[in-house]
């Protein structure tokens, strides 16, 4: 077996156009050797989930700065469950108030990274989470 690459979908749900963070993270994940499927802006939860399935992604990272995070996290996590794909790791970041984070984690998000998180922290966490996920396969 050659090498099993980590495949991650990085998505911008909704109408929010602030993609600096998503792009910086996408590049950092690539530089860490991962394959990043970048969906671009204005994605519906349906599109994001279908992309995850078609691309056989291990994880999906969502970036939201518009305040609509609770809506989108819940929707995406629910739809993954519906599609029998709740093993897919969901993580994200953006402008997300601390008070909302416990709710997102409880709903099934693996991690929520706030502004100022160094990208290596994000990479490290994801590598670990994917290794753990794969060990259960």
């Amino acid at each position: 077996m050659d090498e099993r690459k980590i495949r991650v979908v990085v998505a911008k749900p909704g109408l929010d156009g602030h993609d600096r963070g998503a792009k910086v993270v996408a590049r950092a994940l690539r530089d860490a050797g991962m394959e990043v499927i970048y969906t671009g802006l204005r994605q519906t939860p349906e599109q994001i989930v279908e992309t995850v399935l078609q691309e056989d992604a291990d994880a999906v990272g969502i970036s939201i700065l518009s305040g609509a995070h609770t809506f989108y996290f819940n929707k995406i996590i629910d739809m993954l469950k519906e599609k029998d794909a709740s093993d897919v790791i969901v993580f994200g970041g953006g402008v997300i108030p601390d008070a909302d984070i416990p709710g997102l984690l409880e709903a099934g998000a693996g991690a929520v990274f706030g502004p100022g998180t160094p990208t290596p922290e994000c990479v490290e966490w994801l590598e670990k989470a994917v290794a753990e996920k794969r060990s259960k396969e």
């Binding site: 077996m1 969906t39 794909a85």
Partner: protein, 313 residues
């Protein structure tokens, strides 16, 4: 594994996606999978779309999907982006332009990184195409990397190779140099609302005229992928070429050539895997020292090993 294949053949997206990953990762089960699905292949129209960056390949692919969907055909897309030679990672962003088809059950899009393979394709592209074929996709589109380098491997996979050019990018000459012109079955001059389109089209036709008595003369289409102009006609030419391939002696030749290269590639892949193993077994600290001291040389060592593998030459 058999269950996963059954699910894939029944059209389950995640199963198809998973198998492509296994193949792409060089998982040992790949050969068995291919042996099982191969009898189901050979039905799809396999199209390659190549051309330099900025030519609008993805947008054109998006509109080609639409055109085939209007005819009720199901479509699979393999979109290839370059992997970073440094990290091995990749940003796969071709599907952005096709995202509106995500959610259409008749369309499956898969992004692949080149993972070190040259020639414009990725490792596992061939197998992914065969799998989508076996799973019943009517049309399969391979969008090559498009880095402007020689991307000729596509002829080993596609029935019909489409080359996308664009006026005013100054790279048409590059493409001609790179030998891309020779592999084209259909041309699209995209962004045809830009100045210089007539010049590019004329140049292409001139080049085509240099070869007399072709059994198939590649048609040259002007397209504006952004709004879909000319795309239906372009798609029609693709199907026409496919008909031609399937119903002419030239077509049979192409088919034989492709099958032959398929066998060759599989042989090569297996041999190289084995070679790696044999060399690892053969290699020793002592041998490396001898090599370094120039007491023996790589040619002699290789000849020695070959004699052991093929005692009869």
């Amino acid at each position: 594994m058999d269950k996963l294949i059954d699910k894939a053949l029944a059209g389950d997206t995640r199963a198809i996606a998973r198998i492509i990953s296994l193949i792409e990762n060089g998982d040992p089960v790949s050969d068995a999978v291919m042996r099982r699905i191969y009898p189901l292949t050979g039905r799809a129209v396999v199209i390659g779309i190549t051309g330099s960056p900025g030519a609008g390949k993805s947008t054109l692919t998006d509109k080609v999907i639409e055109s085939f969907r209007k005819q009720g055909k199901t479509v699979g897309i393999i979109a290839i982006d370059p992997s970073s030679p440094f990290s091995g990672g990749a940003i796969l962003a071709d599907r952005i332009r096709m995202q509106r088809h995500t959610g259409d059950d008749g369309v499956y899009i898969r992004s692949m990184g080149t993972r070190g393979s040259l020639g414009g394709l990725s490792r596992g592209t061939r197998e992914a195409v065969l799998l989508l074929d076996a799973c019943g996709k009517d049309v399969i589109v391979i969008e090559t990397v498009g880095v402007g380098q020689s991307e000729v491997d596509i002829i080993k996979l596609a029935d019909t190779v489409c080359v996308v050019l664009v006026p005013g990018m100054g790279d048409d000459i590059q493409i001609m140099k790179a030998g891309i012109m020779e592999i084209a079955d259909v041309f699209a001059i995209n962004k045809a609302d830009k100045p210089g389109v007539d010049r590019v089209a004329a140049e292409v036709r001139l080049m085509l005229d240099l070869v007399k008595n072709r059994p198939w003369t590649p048609p040259v289409h002007l397209t504006i992928a952004e709004n879909g102009d000319g795309v239906d006609e372009f798609a029609e030419s693709i199907l026409k070429h496919h008909d031609f391939i399937k119903n002419s002696p030239e077509g049979a030749k192409v088919e034989y050539r492709r099958l032959s290269s398929e066998v060759e590639d599989i042989l090569l892949k297996n041999l190289s895997r084995r070679t790696e193993k044999i060399w690892k077994n053969h290699m020793s600290e002592e041998l490396m020292k001898e090599l370094a001291a120039r007491e023996t040389n790589p040619y002699l060592v290789a000849a020695d090993i070959l004699k052991k593998i093929f005692p009869h030459g």
